[in-house]
Amino acid sequence: MSHRILIVDDEPNIVISLEYLMKKEGFQVAVATDGETALQLAAEFIPDLVLLDVMMPKKSGFEVCQALRAVPALMATKIIMLTAKGRETEVTKGLALGADVYITKPFSTKDLVLQIKSLLA
């Protein structure tokens, strides 16, 4: 059974690449373009892994991350935060709030895929 991946990002220009890549790797993919939708979708979709952008309207990635970690059904879900904020303090914050991996933009897609695979292994 293929893994489920939830992509949360408000920028269509990155979503298109991420979605294409994930599908190409054979994952089941869902996309949310803001934090609230992401939480609703996660509850139904029960993803194995979430690719989460930090800077989003309504709810920031940090908030979403914290909320996801509070849902018992999503205990096993891995979270990778993708962000344009590269400061050390923000990396620490993301990891402290429950992210498994924190990746700053821009990133290598090859590395991202490897990272996802190792998390899901």
């Binding site: 920028e11 220009n13 690449s17 294409y20 890549l21 700053t104 821009p106 897609t109």
Partner: protein
């Protein structure tokens, strides 16, 4: 009297001595003789008695005369000499005793004269030494003042009460720029000798820093200084460094009843003369001597602009990095997906390339915006300073004339332009260009022009004759700038780049000349005025920016003015007003306010208040004749409702002094209620004080008094000019009042009031 009495006594004794023995012998013989012998004796003696009496009397007279002569010479002569010696001792040092009388007395007089001579020589020697020492001190003070005024940092020295003892002109300018409201009129009203630093900086901050310094001193720190950054009322940021001023040689026993407590200001009573800056004292601290802080030096730098620039640069950096991360991520992901998926369908491929194109162009745009927005802050990495463009050109011109012997002419130089440059490198560049033109093109004269456009300053080097090609300039740009024996590692291009500037060659065919144009950044919003008017006005005299005698000064209890303080110890604001007329109650208004401060018996010509006021009513043509202030001068000036509060602040904690003060005070007091300020301080009137000092003089007009006291009157009938004269008059009056026993402010006020009543009676 006493001498005469003694003389009479001596004469009587002489008389007794001359007659007594005869009478005694006669009496004894008479008592011893028989009756017959007695009769014979009487018969023999009585007829001869008159002769004997006369002879005795004559002898007595001769004796008295002799006695008198001796008395005159020795007793009277000596008392007279004593008087003249007293005179010599006191009133007239040059007086000498005339040797007269007997030789012993003459010898005494000569000895006294010799002593006086010796004393005079000693005194003269001491005086000469004092003069030399004073001159040295004065010279050092002047040197200090000159040094201080040249410093680019603001320096303020305070005693422990926070009273300002010294400040330099940069500090004055900085604080002037800080002042809120219309204080440009007050010429640095906030800062002044004897004023409190706490009106500018927060008391808590200063106290805290002083505590830190104490702590460090106790630990024997080599650098007992404290730094802090503080923001002022106007939102400006000041970086301050505080260094203690210590009293040397003051080793304080721990067991003393009153341990030194620098924060309360106790125990620093006689600090003045021995106060020294803190440098090099740590050794003494190591030796166990507890050093007493008597005050502190503050170096103050306004870092608001640096800070803003820093913040801007930070923001630019931020928008260049984080702002582009997302876009770059989008592009990279898209590109990598495209590369990794050769089998991708065409419409998908098109969407991916669309993303790349869109993000790439957005990025370029963002870059462009950032660059233009932060251009200024990004190019100022070199230590560029704000300078007056004309100064740089003048220095360059002198250098070219000296080094190259090439005549320089000035052409259309805008004297108001400021630019932000590395002045040394720029002067090198100009000199280099001149030398190349002279060497390769044999120009005979170079003209220098200054112009501006937007935020750019143009420095043009113009010559007539041989045109140069642009290629030549390109070549020169890349050469090291060597002029004669002077070499530089920099090229012209380096210098231009350093300023974010440009350089090009241009020909002006109409004018038959050619020029190089160097474009440099203009200095934005210059807060330090090109000329400080008041400073230049009095540049002949040493600036009165310091008064170390205030080290010893202690604040009286409370902030009010202590009426029992001596007149010499008080701070005064001497002021004068010009008005539209003589009747404030009939609507006459103030049109000019001028004031100058007196602190520690000195007229501080730099600490002035000088402001025209728009009276909002037409001026009286006759009055214009007197004060020379015209409608055009007062139009657009601030109104009294802004000027009076500023003036009130200027006068805070000082005694007011004016000539015919009741006139000026009536004008001020009529406005007090409406403007919410109140002049509650004591007021001294030089007119009344003059009447106290010279009750028999007819005129107490300011001119007459000034003439009487030997003061040159210049610039009368401006408020400030009259305030100066009044101030000088007042300073001359203080010792004259002291001669009359009027020493304190209370005594002066009382005396003035008495004459006032006396005058009113007439």
């Amino acid at each position: 009297m006493k001498a005469r009495f003694r003389f009479i006594l001596a004469a009587s004794v002489l008389g007794l001595l001359m007659t007594g023995p005869f009478a005694l012998i006669g009496l004894l013989l008479f008592a011893d003789a028989k009756d017959a012998e007695r009769a014979a004796f009487a018969q023999f003696l009585l007829p001869r008695l008159p002769v004997g009496g006369v002879i005795t009397l004559l002898a007595l007279v001769a004796g008295v005369l002799l006695l008198r002569g001796l008395f005159q010479q020795y007793v009277r002569g000596l008392s007279r000499m004593a008087e003249t010696l007293r005179l010599m001792l006191g009133a007239n040092r040059n007086f000498r005793v005339a040797p007269e009388g007997p030789s012993e007395v003459r010898e005494l007089a000569r000895a006294a004269n010799d002593l006086a001579q010796q004393r005079d020589e000693l005194l003269n020697d001491v005086e000469a030494q004092i003069r030399t020492a004073k001159a040295t001190v004065e010279e050092e003070k002047n040197r200090l003042a000159a040094l201080m005024s040249e410093l680019a940092l603001g320096v303020v020295v305070c005693n422990l009460d926070g009273r300002i003892l010294l400040y330099n002109s940069r500090a004055r300018l900085q604080f002037k720029a800080l002042a809120q409201g219309p204080t440009s009129m007050s010429g640095g009203a906030l800062i002044g000798l004897g004023r409190s630093i706490f009106s500018i900086l927060e008391r808590g901050q200063i106290t805290h820093s002083l505590e830190n310094i104490q702590q460090r001193l106790r630990r024997g720190s080599a650098e007992p200084t404290a730094n802090f950054i503080t923001s002022t009322r106007g939102g400006q940021l000041l970086r301050c460094q505080m260094a203690p001023v210590l009293r040397t040689g003051a080793i304080l026993a721990k067991s003393e009843d009153n341990p030194p407590d620098p924060l309360s200001g106790k125990g620093g009573d006689e600090a003045g003369s021995q106060a020294v800056p803190a440098q090099g004292v740590s050794a003494a601290t190591m030796l166990g001597a507890e050093l007493q802080v008597t005050g502190y030096v503050l170096t103050i730098e306004n870092i608001t602009r640096n800070f803003e620039r820093e913040a801007e640069r930070d923001q630019a950096l931020q928008s260049l990095t984080d702002g582009n991360r997302a876009a770059l991520a989008n592009i990279r992901a898209a590109v990598e997906t495209l590369i990794g998926s050769p089998e991708m369908e065409v419409d998908y491929r098109e969407r991916f390339t669309g993303v790349i194109a869109e993000e790439a162009s957005a990025m370029s745009q963002r870059l462009e915006t950032t660059m233009s927005r932060f251009a200024d802050s990004l190019k100022t990495r070199w230590p560029l300073e704000d300078v007056l463009a004309i100064d740089i050109v003048a220095v360059a011109a002198r250098r070219i004339q000296d080094r190259l012997n090439l005549p320089i002419k000035n052409e259309d130089q805008d004297a108001t332009l400021w630019m932000r440059v590395d002045s040394f490198a720029l002067i090198q560049a100009i000199t280099f260009l001149a030398s190349r033109l002279q060497d390769d093109y044999a120009i005979r004269e170079l003209r220098l022009r200054l112009a501006a456009e937007g935020t750019m300053v143009f420095v043009d080097l113009i010559w007539s004759g041989t045109p140069v090609s642009s290629e030549t300039l390109y070549a020169w740009e890349l050469e090291p700038m060597n002029v004669g024996a002077e070499t530089s590692p920099l090229t012209l291009r380096d210098v231009v780049d350093r300023h974010g500037g440009e350089i090009w060659y241009q020909r002006d065919k109409a004018a038959h000349n050619a020029f190089f144009r160097i474009v440099l950044p203009a200095a934005v919003t210059h807060d330090v005025p090109a000329t400080d008017q008041t400073q230049h006005l009095h540049s002949a005299s040493r600036p009165e920016y310091y008064d170390f005698d205030l080290f010893a000064a202690r604040d009286a209890e409370g902030s009010g003015i202590d009426l029992d303080r001596r007149l010499t110890d008080l701070a005064y604001s001497v002021f004068d007003t010009e008005t539209t007329g003589l009747q404030p109650s009939n609507g006459d208004e103030i049109i000019q306010l001028g004031a100058v401060r007196i602190v520690n018996n000195r007229l501080l010509r730099q600490e002035i208040f000088d402001q025209l006021v728009d009276p909002m009513i037409p001026l009286n043509p006759e009055a214009i004749q007197i004060h020379g202030i015209t409608e055009a001068m007062v139009n657009g000036q601030p109104r009294l409702d802004v000027v009076l509060p500023a003036f009130h602040e200027f006068c805070a904690e000082t005694v007011l002094v004016a000539h015919n003060a009741s006139f000026d005070m009536r004008f001020l007091q009529l406005k007090e209620d409406g403007l919410g300020v109140r002049f509650t301080q004591p007021v001294l009137d030089t007119l009344l004080l003059s009447a106290v000092i010279h009750p028999n003089q007819e005129s107490h007009r300011l001119e007459s008094i000034a003439e009487r006291l030997g003061i040159n009157v210049i610039g009368r009938h401006t408020a400030l000019g009259d305030a100066y004269v009044t101030g000088e008059v007042f300073l001359k009056m203080i010792p004259l009042l002291a001669d009359m026993g009027i020493l304190t402010l209370r005594q002066a006020l009382d005396a003035a009031q008495k004459t006032w009543f006396a005058r009113v009676k007439y």
